[in-house]
Symmetry: C2
């Protein structure tokens, strides 16, 4: 098999973008619907290709958790097509007009939302990202280059085939979705240099992938998806109501970036609350890394599953059923800890004191700041965006969940009557 | 003299940012006013320092144009302080609340505008940028690291002294404005690696500086300020009115990025319009690079100051009194030429045909797209922003003139009543 060069892929994507960018809202909606239909019509071949990936993964000793992430079945394909049809009917951000002004000299000035251009999405072993990313990109008028992990090459190839058939059947350029059909890492390196043809890189994976992209890319990179998340239980918090929020943030889906990593508890309530947390969450299989003051709130010797926190434990994204617990004496100390240890993803306060909530919101500068709610809500569909392509923890362009609008930019449109500048 | 390391500068800026970000609108406004006062109070020492730069520049053989750019005098200092006082009173973008939603589950969601963080501005020999950049950064709650060119080191040092005195007198941290007090290029390289402490790099200078930043920075870089700008004179344009617009775009300030570089003329009117343009603008000292078809509209042999365009002439930002002229047969051909040769800075159409104007606006994807107006309006104060720190020609975060709002980001604030995710 001859692999297409990254430059050729990027040029094809750029050329497809030129027609895609001026396609109508209804054409793009129809394309997403057609793709969902093609995925359903070809589910046997998609599942067969996925089975091949699963078999090869098992043979090469991938962990059951890894296999579970890459595995597709009828139900999961159903989720994928349902999501795609929902994205198809979301409002189209392209063409939105904002910041209109009539200048004193009579110039009419406005901004107009346009697609971002050509996106490159580099992701790990989750075949659903192939369809999610293509769907969000196409819906917002962008071309996209997909580079999934080598362990899902067969699944992705089958899904991209269905995407291409869907595009072709509705007259949008097939080149709008490009697929790096190779496990070569060298091609990723080459892709990251193509700043004339690619407008944005979205890495989806662990911190090593983000670091690699930041260090090797000449294209702007959206870093994100790494969450060391905190909840601070204030002295005035309703502890009975706080407990299920903490439990939800920790155990509802521990493997994701918005799950709780560190619980900060005000010393006034630590003696009551920490034993309650340990007792309750232990039943869910959670283990604990506690600081000295938190340990002093627990029986001596420490209960099973509880150990003293090591030096790096408050700088660790657990992605599993582990919870750090630390006692703080003041709101200030909680905010200070968060400012030093948070990855600025999602951090919250549980409190009944309005002024403390206000101060926390003002001073904690994370992508999502919570008052009396679980950090698990940092998610495109939970926050009203309908979907998400990534959760940004950097500060430029977009923060937090990124969906359709975050895949656009704007141009200034200035209309005059043969105006010259004085 | 011991030079402070870039890391130490960045850390000081980060630490100052922590208080600056939570300072009040009025404190920041007062600081800018105080800085303007300090510049006035210290004008003798500032002008003396600048004289030193001018003398050294002359000795080392810098061009008169270069010397003119770095030279300060009482009048120019007056412009600087007037601009600073105007920025001081612009509306404060920080704290603005937008995209409020009440979710079906009762969660209250909003976005809230916050300063971007620590900015690094790397610029060439214009000492006014020292004050402009510091003023815009401070007004929007950002700390800033300034790195001017070695030829203006004395001027910049004197201006930064005044800035620090102004900050100190109003109680804002002096560390909010850091100055790289060294001509070393090695320090710029080091600065560009500090992605943990610096949030955004703004290069202000030629394309070599932008390329250097893009290739060496681990921090997001705002590229911009390079403009190959076009005006397309449609068949239906009012030629009498179009001529002064073209003249304005080319000659009002030829050395800047929004000046006109290439004139495209529809073949139906080329025979009448091109001789008119050449005759009129020749009197202003403009010379011309014309394609074969444009040459055919002119006397043979070509008039003085007119020559056939070379292969790179339509890909050149002239920054001087040179104008490229090309004849096109259709609107399509004009748009195609712009899409291939524009740097996506500022491009316009002159027409009386509504549908052509609409098509041009829809299909030309530049930061600023004009109908019947000079490209010279792409400027923060002309477009209602009151000022500008740069003109972005990249697509992420901000396009076109960047002022206060473009130096901010947002955080999501989510308020619940002990909400857990289902």
């Amino acid at each position: 098999m001859v692999t297409t060069s990254p430059l050729a892929l990027a040029r094809s994507a750029r050329s497809a973008f030129h027609s895609l960018a001026y396609s109508s809202t209804s054409a793009r909606e129809a394309a997403l619907m057609a793709i969902a239909g093609e995925i359903e019509n070809n589910k046997e071949s998609i599942l067969a290709a996925n089975q091949q990936d699963v078999d090869e993964g098992k043979k090469s000793g991938l962990s059951p958790a890894f296999i579970d992430r890459l595995m597709l079945n009828e139900e999961r394909l159903g989720w994928i097509t349902t999501d795609l049809r929902r994205v198809a009917t979301l409002p189209d951000p392209v063409g939105e007009v904002f910041d209109q002004q009539l200048m004193p000299n009579g110039l009419k000035v406005r901004k107009q939302r346009v697609p971002l251009g050509v996106l490159a999405v580099i992701y790990e072993a989750r075949p659903n990202v192939t369809v999610d990313a293509a769907g969000l990109a196409l819906k917002s008028g962008n071309a996209v280059i997909l580079r999934g992990s080598s362990e899902t090459l067969n699944s992705n190839r089958a899904l991209v085939d269905a995407i291409h058939r869907g595009l072709a059947s509705t007259g949008l350029p097939e080149g709008s979705v490009q697929f790096v059909d190779s496990p070569s890492r060298e091609l990723v390196f080459e892709l990251l240099k193509l700043h004339n043809d690619i407008d944005m890189v979205i890495p989806r994976g662990g911190s090593a992938l983000h670091k690699y992209c930041r260090e090797n890319s000449l294209i702007p990179v959206i870093t994100g998806g790494i969450g060391i998340c905190h909840e601070y239980v204030d002295a005035s918090a309703n502890l009975e109501k706080a407990l299920p929020v903490i439990r939800n943030a920790k155990i509802q889906r521990p493997s994701v970036c918005n799950a709780l990593d560190t619980l900060l508890v005000h010393s006034d309530v630590a003696g009551r609350f920490i034993p309650l947390v340990v007792e309750t969450l232990s039943k869910d299989g959670v283990t604990f890394r506690v600081d000295e003051k938190a340990a002093a709130c627990l029986p001596d010797p420490l209960p099973a599953g509880v150990e003293l926190a090591g030096v790096n434990d408050f700088d660790t994204e657990w992605l599993s059923l582990v919870l750090g617990i630390k006692v703080v004496d003041t709101l200030d100390e909680a905010i200070e800890h968060i400012s030093l240890h948070s990855t600025a993803h999602s951090d919250g306060i549980l409190t009944e004191t309005e002024t403390n909530a206000r101060e926390f919101v003002a001073r904690v500068d994370s992508a999502a700041v919570y008052v009396n709610a679980s950090t698990r809500f940092t998610d495109g569909s939970q926050l009203g965006l309908g979907a998400e392509v990534a959760i940004s923890t950097q500060r430029l362009h977009a923060r937090g969940p990124m969906a359709l609008r975050e895949l656009t930019t704007y141009k200034w449109v200035i209309e005059g009557e043969y105006h010259a500048r004085l």
